[in-house]
Symmetry: C2
Subunit: 654 residues, 2 copies
Amino acid sequence: MDIRKTTINNIRVLSAEMIDKANSGHPGLPLGCAGIGYELYAEILKHNPANPDFIDRDRFVLSSGHGSALIYSLLHIFGYGLKMEDIENFRQLGSAATGHPEHGLVKGVEATTGPLGQGISNAVGMAIAESMLAAQFNKPDIKLIDHYTYALCGDGCMMEGIESESASLAGTLKLGKLIVIYDSNGITIEGATDVAFTEDVAARHIAQGWQVLKVASGEDIDALKAAVLEAKAETNKPSLIIVKTRIGEGSSKAGSASTHGSPLGAECIAEMKKSMGWEYPPFSVATEVKAHIKELSKTFAGYESAWNKLAEKYAVKYPEDWQIFKDRMDGVGPDLTQIESIWTDEKEEDATRNTGGRALCRIAEYVPGIVGGTADLVPSTKAYIKNGGDYGPENRAGRNVHFGIREHAMGGICNGIALHGGFIAFSSTFHVFSDYMRNPIRMAALMQLPVFYVFTHDSIGVGEDGPTHQPIEQTASLRLIPGLDVYRPADYSETASAYVSAVTGGRPTVMVLSRQNLPALHSGTKGLKGAYVVAGEGKPDVVLLATGSEVSLALKAKDLLAGDGINARVVSMPCVEAFERQSIDYQNEILPVGIKRIVIEAGATAPWYKYAGSDGAVIGIDSFGASGKANKLFEYFGFTPERVAEITKEKLGK
Amino acid sequence: MDIRKTTINNIRVLSAEMIDKANSGHPGLPLGCAGIGYELYAEILKHNPANPDFIDRDRFVLSSGHGSALIYSLLHIFGYGLKMEDIENFRQLGSAATGHPEHGLVKGVEATTGPLGQGISNAVGMAIAESMLAAQFNKPDIKLIDHYTYALCGDGCMMEGIESESASLAGTLKLGKLIVIYDSNGITIEGATDVAFTEDVAARHIAQGWQVLKVASGEDIDALKAAVLEAKAETNKPSLIIVKTRIGEGSSKAGSASTHGSPLGAECIAEMKKSMGWEYPPFSVATEVKAHIKELSKTFAGYESAWNKLAEKYAVKYPEDWQIFKDRMDGVGPDLTQIESIWTDEKEEDATRNTGGRALCRIAEYVPGIVGGTADLVPSTKAYIKNGGDYGPENRAGRNVHFGIREHAMGGICNGIALHGGFIAFSSTFHVFSDYMRNPIRMAALMQLPVFYVFTHDSIGVGEDGPTHQPIEQTASLRLIPGLDVYRPADYSETASAYVSAVTGGRPTVMVLSRQNLPALHSGTKGLKGAYVVAGEGKPDVVLLATGSEVSLALKAKDLLAGDGINARVVSMPCVEAFERQSIDYQNEILPVGIKRIVIEAGATAPWYKYAGSDGAVIGIDSFGASGKANKLFEYFGFTPERVAEITKEKLGK
């Protein structure tokens, strides 16, 4: 038998076995796409399983993450280092072969996927990153960066809005090195896709600026290879290769919706093996397949050694650029806390969206890997790197990406840029619309990616645009996402802290910035600790704990309270998460045990009781906002020094 | 001058004036679409401003909600009752003319809009609702329901993924009575749209099953009218009418991005008035325009009286159907708390996703207005009305909608179905993907719509699918949305409470249901109060406050504690919001003041400190989940009776 066919059979058998043993998983895709997967790993991808991280490798994203068994079979068979033991414990606690593929847990998984549509947006981000690095570093004689980005997706991804957003932007940006393979099997969980999905996917992508190619059968891997060559030949458009497949192909249940998410069962697997003539024991790789892969590995090693030679030549001829490139890829940069210009601002009063814009530009000067953009809101959110240039087909080196009004895709694309390596990617929109991109933010937190979010127009300070545009619960609700830092700065210095933390902290970071002016606190780098004392000497009678726009309100309330003989300490807490990473000693120093606390934040109150405790108070907003001038709204919603002082006195029993 | 032109000028002037006086707002659209707006209200819409709620009116959604000045001008000029005083106080606190149009605040605003793309999905929902009502109530001789749904949207809406999802479903469903007008002005906030948006919107919609028509100029209202006639003639496809407009048309700043969101300024307005020959005082409606509207009003009144006659005839000939129809439109139904079958379940142990499926079917029998569906997950979430039929082009009476894998659109479409009247609409998907539809949930809460959400596969009970599919922070984060009820039921009876509250409570309601089995508590209607005592006699030493899957854990911990002589009360709190609406007496009865509380919920902890206080504890999860068997995961994350008992004793100092 053709060794290619044998290897494909091996992928099918191994995938079915791991799912059956786990009694959990999705055999439909791994069987239906076994041929596609084989062809990608054997003949299409420029990769080296022996060194999965080699920089100029082609990227491959399994956007249909539920088909994880496919990628585990491929990674094991092709020698990526995923152990058979993990595969035998597929989906069990502690196994690297988790339910959906997790980046960082398994070498060769370029992105954690599962939530449908996200992987496509990640792939668009990777293709953008590749083109940026190429433009920034390639030389006429040496193409240091020159690879393709592939994604495999199914009907589910195609129905998701984030796919359409991503495809529309990819077409606009003419990402010629992006190749998406669409596993078109006509089946989803509820049955035939045409119950809910009759659109002409090919025509839609053509309308969005793509080249569309068709392969009549997922079993015809030569046709797939030919289509990929055609895709590569079109350098001015991303390509969609629509491959007709049968879900669960190779088994007697092929074509049935039940194979999507239910194990095939021992009988069906035995039957499948018999029809293939497969006689190896469970969980094995056939001897001839091993030999085949060994043969292929020479080619794979060749890909890397060719690039290594190129890189050596580059390092000699362009040593400065090489150093910058290396630093970019390794995430090495200067100590930003020591750079005075970053911590110095000229304004005594300004909106933090403006201070944020300045902090971004100052930091971006020292950190060339920062790239990103807004969802059509540069004039409003100010998240723009001056002198960074605008990224687009005519300027691949540009650092500012115009994402268009596509918040969801923006989030996923930034994840992709970060996943590629060499970048810290930012997104920006109105804070209320962070709701449109909540899943990609969550995915960034899960993957611990170097991305940050500039969300401006916080709370009722938005003013006249009214409740649809006033974030009330968004800040609190983002703080609930594990592994995400949320900064709500009160002034320039805290905004700079937020940026420095975002850029150097290695975790995704949200910054929530104001539309309205706020006075400068001149707190230097103190914000990096998450919370610090802004005002108040000696042992306080009460702590006024505030964030963002409410810090200046707390300061005014403190003055009122002083008139009543009450010594209030004002604590600014720009980042709860950073504060909770400090030592207990530091925490107790800032928030002494036994001293009542009044928390003030123009947002949802519930989570703040953790700090206010049973005997304190939380002054916030638990209803929607309203349309009106910002100052009137703050008054209307009770954010006045008088009310804060009154509530404080009540809590102190005075 | 042509009176139509004069009226259009009046719309332009009034819109520009209100924005200028407010010094806030978006003149670009109101000016660019003044002709479209006029033509809709004067000659296209079947409506009656004298009675904006007349049931069979055409629906019109201003999806580009930032163009609110346009709709306010139209509503005032056409006699909808919006006062000039409100217009003069446009965007000021207390004015009905808020920054973005708010449903319920102003008659004639069919949907609160602003977040881009939502309005289109609302319109799709309204068109679905119309077709359902028509199929359910129309007779061969009397078409009781027979109206169109219109939406006006701009480039922003077109770029949003939710628009593509909605368009794709609308095409699949062949919604022939949906007509979307696309204000194509080629300008967005960052400048020319082609920076980020070069897709062929017409071709994309054709691919998605739409008829696409083009009007060369927004000033050519006769051409628009002709296009609408063509749209109506195509009964098998929704229609997109692409109208070329100039942003800020009529002013000297026409065509400039600055007119999108900045007032024109006094000078520019003066100039505009001069070029129009406009000599009326500010904030006025021209005498001839008033006369013109008076003339038109006869037609408008005729629309309603014709329908009233039809309805009278229907009421006589089909009195039973008429009564059902009336009840549907008025939201009248039986007292569900008194219907035994709803509160009776046969199983002693079951997953709440299953109990939810049964509760839905039992309640749906008594509440014919319940319709909805899942994002391709019926076999998983069980949210399906048996005997309800499947909605589609062949069965418009079906109550189950197959939304496809389009969570975001599903949310917006359900809002539209509810906004139409006559329905309680539900959406369903995996709980973790509520993140994909957070904005429409928020919009439902803002509008207080009768919609509910069946979100299943809660927390680590999801098991093998792993962290991408395990909601940790979702429940807590939905609770932060003002005006939304979130139920996390522990068994069938609590699930029934959640459903009954959702259906009769008049507010949007989320129910978070388990994948895994949970034991029955047989608590009858107690869950309707939000929290109640499950077990524990007399004065408790400690309260174990738990929700959902953790209630049975609390019961086991209680037994352990009893062994140590500790009398623990177990309180189940399926709905925090419902509990907080109870009297203080009831609240204190359930949670006695001074008794320590241990809160147990397999989710984010921070918001629970409100109940745990400074001296209690919260047992939850603040990291992402993991892939593994559910029971192993609960152990791994510390959800064991032993650990709960241990922490409790520690807190009690025992």
